[in-house]
Symmetry: C2
Amino acid sequence: MATPLPRRGIPDATVARLPGYLSVLGTMSARGILSTSSEELATAAGVRSAKVRKDLSHLGTYGVRGVGYDVEHLAFQIATELGLARDWPVVIVGLGNLGRALASHSGLATRGFRVSGLYDRDPALIGHRIGDLAVAGMEALASRADSADVIGVIATPAGSAQEAADALVAVGISSILNFAAAAITVPDGVDVRQVDVATELQILAFHKQRRATATAWVGAAP
Amino acid sequence: MATPLPRRGIPDATVARLPGYLSVLGTMSARGILSTSSEELATAAGVRSAKVRKDLSHLGTYGVRGVGYDVEHLAFQIATELGLARDWPVVIVGLGNLGRALASHSGLATRGFRVSGLYDRDPALIGHRIGDLAVAGMEALASRADSADVIGVIATPAGSAQEAADALVAVGISSILNFAAAAITVPDGVDVRQVDVATELQILAFHKQRRATATAWVGAAP
DNA sequence: TAGATTGTTAATCGATTAACAATC
DNA sequence: TAGATTGTTAATCGATTAACAATC
């Protein structure tokens, strides 16, 4: 990134788990649960309680010894830490099957995001309505004024991902979530996260094969 | 997991990067590039060359000092290591927008997977064709015979994710990719990977806010 | 007070990185 | 041989874990 950041001291591994804790707390809150413990949180989030306490200790001391954590208060603190005290506008580039699925994904609005623009370079798609929004052309993206705040999502085919990234960067968007099956190159200062179905499946396949091999060994005659 | 595995010695962090290398090698191969170096691979994959060499050294010694790596050979070795010497059948549970997008996702067939079953509990969806397949009911999932080989994908709403996971586990499926916005609980021996759009966006939001704060400090009077 | 549970410490483990000898 | 690039070493860094003093 361009600016050397004043180290905020929250480890990346912790940041990656905070959304999970937040989601669990949301479920608890919806069920009317007022208070919880690191042990309960850990079980629900699928980690160890020591990890939960260590993670939360990076944010501040929001628990009470011998008692636990106030669900609402902790949820608020985590949300604040994650930058979710406000809603973030999200734009989607590429409105094929995946882009359309993301555009109508209810899990975004409830978790701090608001889909605020849909862009595609295919003229055949322009004008199509998806939820509240109509698909616009790439030139409409270029004229957005609020881009410093926007998070961009790329849902194009692999071959168009770099073009989409370039367009997002050109408007000044500096946070990108890339669903295309291709790595993209961006300037310093732009934060990219990559999500790829095939990658996830290949990691599962590796473990699966390893287990199959292990079983074969166990089953084999000495 | 149930069986204590004979340690194969490939670190998790390395396994998670192998699909990326494989994808880059595939692109090179398609362009007719026969040979490459750790430096080129690293640039294309977005990592450092030392990391590439260290990662590849865990698989064996497939490079030649002073020369580099043979693209086809290295791709073959990585694919073999990942368990992609064969194709893996994938079943999708939940055929809403996301499930349909995944079912018709071309990036699967080209990278070692074959969508071989679509299941939903909604009678209104049963029978609908998506690509080559028709959506079947959950009872059809229960009668699959090949389940030990299958990788299950959950693309249901959050509220139905556990039910879907239970159904997959009940048939003997032991590798699950969960796209639902809810953690699922599975028995030992079942390998789960979770992908959640909102989680990824929240991690981006955290970094974005941190940068905004840093900029504000820089801009503030002393 | 007795019981419960946090926040922190310190030990361990795993991942990253730079440097370089090996070797094509 | 000279130049290039690997595979490995060793140092550093970051993450995890268990244990427990602090304290409600």
